[in-house]
Each structure stands twice: as structure tokens, then as C-alpha cells.
Amino acid sequence: MTIKEIQEEIIDEFSMFDDWMQRYEYMIELGKSLPLIEEQYKTDDNLIKGCQSKVWVHAELDGDRLVFTADSDAIITKGIIAILVRAFSNQKPQDIIDADTGFIDEIGLKEHLSPTRANGLVSMIKQLKLYAVAYQTQLK
């Protein structure tokens, strides 16, 4: 599936919920199914700056595709990074670089998009894209 298709699937899933509580509960569930980062990659280098909770992200190439694994010590943050990993992992670096992130707004997480917000959703997206840029250069 393309990034766009996955994002639409996520929007569909979230549209089933009537209120924020159900959305958050689902996000927490998604967090629990996150492909976990290996312990050896939970280093300060892999920490995303600008988050009140700790978020580690690791990226590696599988052929021409970039695979993300991640973890967080806060469960809601883990849910957010899980959604991002689902949308962007196993994709070509160039597609990750070009991807739109408007779906975050559509699934009712707009409040997390403020650049000053302590959970750093913006920092997370930026970090995933930075990885993509780095590996795109490597692929060339």
C-alpha cells in the first residue's frame, strides 16, 4: 500500500469513533502493537528532542524501503509514534519525503500538531523525514 492509502485507512478507522475518549483508547491500543525498537537502539542519539516524554526512533533500509521501529515511555506518545510508523514505515525514502501529513488533522489529533506542544508530534514527523533524506542520499 502507498502512504496515501495507509493514511486513508487510518482515517477510516478513526472515523468510527464518536468522541475523543474512544480515539485515545484506540491510539493506546495502536501503541501496544507498535513494532518495538531493539534495546540496543534505545540510545540518546535516537531520542527525539522536544518531547516531554522519551521517544526513540530507529530506521534501517530493507532493500529500497525504509523501516522504522520506535518506542516511548509514555503510552499516548507511543500511540502517536505508532500511527506515524504505520503510515511511513516500509516505504521508499523519496515517498516519505514527499508525503503529506494532513491526515493527523483528520483523525482528530490536530491539537498535537502545534509546534510548541510538549509531545513533539512535529518533531517526530521531522525526524522520520530526516531519516528518509539521509537514506535517500545513501541510496543514490
Binding site: 475523543w20 475518549m21 485515545y24 493506546i28 516524554s53 515511555d73 499516548i76 506518545t77 510538549a118
Partner: protein, 413 residues
């Protein structure tokens, strides 16, 4: 009940709440429950009116103008200085320096002490300081070669006074301590700290930012050398605060910033500085902010600090009892003398998660390290959830907080 308590007029919270327009609003479809008062307090209509009145009727630059508006603005600004002087029982109005807030006040003193310290001197700072009362002193020590030493604390969140006495010596030149800890709510024994420091000839700066909304400090009785306050923590606006300094210290300290207002005479060869307090008030100050600071003190004094303290103590006691009914909840900061702050975690749950869920329920609390990372390191936790109370909060709001934390726990476990 002591005799004193009987004499205090009971605070009428329902009437008081009507003074704060912001308490009428909703957040995420729920009535706002504002429990982040330790970060900043809300502003009563009386203070908002003072701000509007200034800009509508007598906005002008002060001290220099001969025209009527300038004189009215100068009078109001200087009247605010006198209100602050009276409130904190300060000997002279010129010992009150207007600053942009506590951080600015501390930096002013830290910069001024650069020429007074040398290698081998020691500076003591308490283990429960806000970053703003750590970093400027670290920078001072880097500039001068003095050594920073830490007054230890115990698990209850109280300073270990024996440890303090052991650190004091004739090398000690300065001691810094907050009056009330912003992260734990502990009321520190500052009179004891000040007296002991003076015995070895050290000066003491007390950061009163967190205390000022709850305790009316008598600065002459405390005999403190410096005391700092931010107006926005006591119903005033942001961007204004005060530095109290004893006259002898303020005369010794060099000016902090150069500019207009702070000079007596300027030639290209030499400038002579203005007298106190203007020596430390370079440039056009936050005139409206200063006046509104005075209005905030008037407002709080009209309610009365004894009534405020009694009411808040009851409220915090009730909140503590209710929160402790939640399984796995642990309170950090259980000092015998504490005020207005409850810092807590629930076992196995990140404070950030709790903060996010309770915000969705309309409740404003703070999560994180509260600009006091050394305290979090001490307890080996990433942070806490902090509910901080003011005299305009009520028991219904405490109940909503407890209910929200219970819901968060159920969702997150």
C-alpha cells in the same frame, strides 16, 4: 482552632470566582478547572480594569515628561512601588527595584556579584531550586572561579538543615533558596537559613516567586538581603516583578544594564549613575505592568492573606486526602510545612499521559520536571503531574480533578 483563626473572616469563594472572567470559559467542551496556578495565576477583573484604564486614560512615558499625562503615569507607577514596599514591609521605596520578573531579578544580583567573588569562595544553593535559581549562579561561579555547593534535601522534600550547617563556613559568600518550592510546595525555613548565613557573613537571596501568592513575607523581620517576586504568580500581569535588596547591597552592586533613566550625567568621558532605584531601571519600564502589579496587591490584600492561607490549606488538605484514595498514587513532597502544590504520579503511568487525558476533561495541570530537573533526578522519576491551587479554586474542582485522574488511570493501565 487557634484564636487567630477565629478572627479571620472566612473567604467567600463563590463571590471571588466572579472576579475572574476566565473561570467562566470552557475547555474541550468542559468548564475550565484551572489548577496550574504555580505556573501563572489568573487575573481578576480589578487588575484587567487597571490595565485598560492605563491605556485608555493616561498612557505616557514616566519620570521625564512635564506634561500632565506623564505626571499621572509617574504618580501611578511610583504609587505601585509604594504598595509593594508596604506589602512586603520594606524600609524604603527605593529598595524596591522593578524588573521583568524573578528570573530578571536573580540575574541582576548574579551579575552584580561578579566583581565581589573570587576563587575559593563558596556559593550555596538548595537542592530544590527552580532552574532560574540555579543557572545564573552556575554562570556566576564560572565567571569568578567560586564553587557552587548544594544544600541537601530528604525524601519528604525538606531541606536537611544539618547538611546546611555543615556547608556553611567563612568561605560562604552567598546563599540561595526559594521560600516555597514550585515543584513540591515545601515552605523552607528561610528565617533560620538567613540567620545562620549572616553569622558567617554571607548574603542571602530568597526566591519568593512561589511563596508570594500564599505568604505575605515581612522582609525587614526576615532580615533577608534580596527577595524576588513575579507579579504574574499573584494575580498580576506577566513581564513584571520586583527585586528587593537591602539599601547597603543595592548601593554596592554595579548597574546591570546601561541606558536612559539610570543615569545622572552623561558625557563621552564619564557617566554618573542615578540614585536608587533608578540605577537598576534602565530604559522605559513596563509602566502598565508595574501599575497592574500594585492593583493585584490591592486585590489580594482586600481578601486578606490570612484568609487566603487558611482557605488554601483546607483545600490542599482536602485534595491530598481525595487524591490518596486513588490506587497507586504517590505524592512527592510531603513536608510538614507546605502550601498550594500537590506533585504526584501513578505507579506505572507516565505523568505526560495523565496530563493529556485530564486536559481533555477540561482540567489544567502541569506535567514534566517543572523546571526543577535536579528534584526529578533526586526521586529518579521523569517528572510529575502537578496540581497547584489558588484561593479561587474550590472543592468541586478538586472532585473533578480526582474523577479525571481516576478516568485517566483506567484508560492508561
Amino acid at each position: 482552632m487557634t484564636e487567630k483563626n477565629i478572627l479571620i473572616e472566612k473567604l467567600d469563594v463563590n463571590t471571588i470566582r466572579k472576579d475572574f472572567p476566565i473561570l467562566q470559559r470552557e475547555v474541550n467542551g468542559q468548564p475550565l478547572v484551572y489548577l496550574d496556578n504555580a505556573a501563572t495565576s489568573q487575573t481578576p477583573q480589578q487588575v484587567i480594569d487597571a490595565i485598560v484604564d492605563y491605556y485608555q486614560n493616561y498612557n505616557a512615558n514616566i519620570h521625564r515628561g512635564v506634561h500632565t499625562l506623564s505626571q499621572e503615569a509617574t504618580d501611578a507607577y511610583e504609587a505601585a512601588r509604594q504598595k509593594i514596599q508596604k506589602h512586603f514591609n520594606i524600609a524604603y521605596p527605593y529598595e524596591v527595584i522593578f524588573t521583568s520578573g524573578t528570573t530578571d531579578s536573580i540575574n541582576l544580583v548574579a551579575n552584580g556579584f561578579t566583581s565581589f567573588l573570587k576563587e575559593g569562595d563558596e556559593v550555596l544553593v538548595s537542592a530544590m531550586e527552580h532552574h532560574s535559581n540555579i543557572v545564573p549562579w552556575q554562570m556566576l561561579c564560572e565567571r569568578t572561579g567560586a564553587t557552587l555547593k548544594v544544600i541537601p534535601m530528604n525524601l519528604e522534600g525538606e531541606l536537611v538543615m544539618e547538611g546546611y550547617y555543615n556547608l556553611l563556613s567563612d568561605k560562604t559568600k552567598l546563599v540561595f533558596c526559594n521560600h516555597v518550592s514550585n515543584a513540591l510546595g515545601t515552605i523552607n525555613p528561610i528565617k533560620e537559613i538567613i540567620d545562620a548565613a549572616h553569622k558567617v557573613g554571607a548574603a542571602v537571596l530568597v526566591d519568593g516567586a512561589q511563596a508570594a501568592a500564599h505568604i505575605k513575607a515581612d522582609l525587614q523581620a526576615l532580615d533577608v538581603d534580596f527577595y524576588t517576586v513575579s507579579a504574574h504568580k499573584m494575580c498580576g500581569p506577566t513581564g513584571v516583578g520586583m527585586l528587593y535588596g537591602k539599601e547597603e547591597w543595592l548601593k554596592k552592586l554595579p548597574p546591570y544594564q546601561g541606558g536612559g533613566e539610570m543615569i545622572a550625567e552623561v558625557t563621552f568621558e564619564k557617566t554618573t549613575y542615578a540614585d536608587l532605584p533608578h540605577k537598576f531601571e534602565a530604559g522605559t519600564p513596563n509602566i502598565c505592568g508595574g501599575i497592574a502589579f500594585g492593583a493585584a496587591l490591592d486585590y489580594m490584600n482586600s481578601i486578606g492573606f490570612d484568609a487566603i492561607a487558611q482557605y488554601e490549606d483546607e483545600l490542599v488538605e482536602y485534595a491530598t486526602e481525595q487524591l490518596l484514595t486513588i490506587d497507586g498514587l504517590k505524592i512527592y513532597g510531603t513536608a510538614a510545612h507546605k502550601t498550594s502544590v500537590i506533585s504526584f504520579n501513578i505507579e506505572g503511568i507516565h505523568p505526560y499521559d495523565i496530563g493529556t487525558i485530564v486536559d481533555k476533561l477540561g482540567i489544567a495541570v502541569r506535567t514534566g520536571h517543572h523546571c526543577a530537573q535536579p528534584i526529578m533526578d533526586f526521586y529518579k522519576i521523569p517528572g510529575t503531574v502537578r496540581a497547584s491551587f489558588s484561593f479561587y479554586n474550590n472543592k468541586e474542582e478538586v472532585d473533578k480533578l480526582v474523577e479525571a485522574v481516576k478516568r485517566a488511570r483506567n484508560m492508561l493501565q
